[in-house]
């Protein structure tokens, strides 16, 4: 980090696109300095010497957890679709994903 904590407006647009969030111009104006001040604060980690330190991704030592491959009762189709925005013929309906 620290190369530069300045996020350019173009970078913010790129990040927002990756995150699939539309931002209004007002939001961009608000978030840009807020994100910069957070990123600037994060520079504090540079003072930690992490030579030869392994990263921790989980705090307990568990590794692979297996379970039997059994068929179990699941939601009915009706229940599974009960929270959907739109359904059609028993499926979730979405707007076109492929252009004609």
């Amino acid at each position: 980090m620290s190369a530069s904590n300045k996020i350019t407006p173009e970078e913010l647009d790129h990040i927002a696109k990756l995150a699939r969030i539309d931002l209004t111009d007002d939001e961009k104006k608000t978030y840009l300095p807020q994100l910069e001040s957070v990123l600037e604060y994060l520079d504090i980690l540079n003072k930690a010497d992490t030579t030869n330190i392994k990263p921790t991704f989980r705090v307990n030592e568990q590794k692979n957890v297996f379970h039997q491959d059994e068929v179990k009762e699941s939601f009915s189709q009706k229940d599974a679709l009960s929270t959907a925005t739109k359904t059609k013929d028993g499926y979730f309906e979405v707007v076109a994903t492929i252009k004609k």
């Binding site: 980090m1 620290s2 978030y31 705090v59 307990n60 929270t83 925005t85």
Partner: protein, 487 residues
Amino acid sequence: MDLQNLSFKQTRHLLLDKQITAVEIANYFLARTKEIDPKIKAFITITEKEIIDQAQRIDEKIKKGEKLGKLAGAVMAVKDIFLTKGIQTTSSSQVLNGYIPQYSSSIYQKLIDEDVMIIGKTNTDPFAFGASTENSGYFTTKNPWNIEMVPGGSSGGSAAAVAADLCHFALGTDTGGSIRQPSSLCGVSGIKTTYGRNSRYGITAMASSFDCPGVFARDVEDIALVTEITAGLDPHDATTCDIEVPKYTENLKKINIKGLKIGLPKEYFTGSIDPEVKEKVLNAAKEFEKQGAILVDISLPSTDLGIAVYYILIPSEISANMARYDGIRFGQSVDGAPDIVSYYMQTRGKYMEPEVKRRILIGTYALSSGYYDAYYTKAAKVRTLIKNEFVEAFKNVDVILAPCSPTPAWKIGAKVNDPLQMYLADVYTVCINVAGVPGLALPCGFNNQNLPIGFQLIGNFFEEEKLFSLGHQFQQFTDYHQKRPQL
């Protein structure tokens, strides 16, 4: 009958002695909640039908002489990020406005199976992102001790509901302090369990390697009872551990305070700490000393890195977890988007609250090409340092005692425009989550404006039993936990 000052245990005696019915208990809490909640706004949903239905089932069981669950007679509030089958679950975000889940979270179900009655779903910061409930997509909960002040957060609605006696206990989650900090600000007790002790299944995910469900109550005894039921292996959550759950309630006097070594980490008593908070927390340590404990000065040198580690790893996990809110399978969505990417972008842009967006953006940035090693990997390495410091500390002391929050409750609105200041409110709680160890928050006094102050006892991995025993004994020789706000 006035049930306000009765613990669950006392209320249960009345029920078993047939001096009161479950329906009467339910009606008492409903009436009280309808009167008090408009002032403090702890609840998003009051589950009037469900509590009466459950009460009638319990009364029927009593009538027929059937075996009662361990929580028959108890009234519970539930943070609105726990999925409750058939009951709206919003996560305090507009994204999930109107969402009625088809299944329940594991620990909620375990408690229902023990005949608990649910009074309602409590307000939180959206998806638990925050430290004051001010980020909620609905409204801000007020501190029952002073309604101009925040209750803390994110589980502020649950803490306020317990403080205002609207339930016997309340469920919350603690990812970076979201049980202990509002406990401290509202003058109640609360446990953040060891990571993997309570199942996360059916709770809207914030940061999966940090999220710890837990419970608020006035007395540690009630917390021990609830945790005894909720804790343990859950096949639906592969990070729960197959470690035996002790009989917490039977071992509340087990730990001998005489000769017990209590560590006071110097990093938690310096810097921005409010002088009254420092004084009251050190007084709590002295109370233990009077009972024969030995106070030991210790150091957790990487404490000042905790917030930075947290606010890299947490948003990173958030940005991945929040990808599920696509407006297709559940949640609100926009009409008329021309293609699927616009549909996602407009839906998320319209319904996600500002703090939800900020955290997703920070996480996406930290995980994006060119920054991953500098942010995510670096923070994960410092996480190792912080965890190791706790492991080392517990070789020399039995338990660690520290404040939960550098200040008592602050004024609503004071920090809303400065996310970094809001993040720094977690400074005394996050390292415990970074390490994964348990922490029990307990009230220990008031400042000169009659705002509560709390402290936390931090134990080694899976040492909840020790924390409950010490917390319970502390509540035998002090009475801070019995103080009530004027409402």
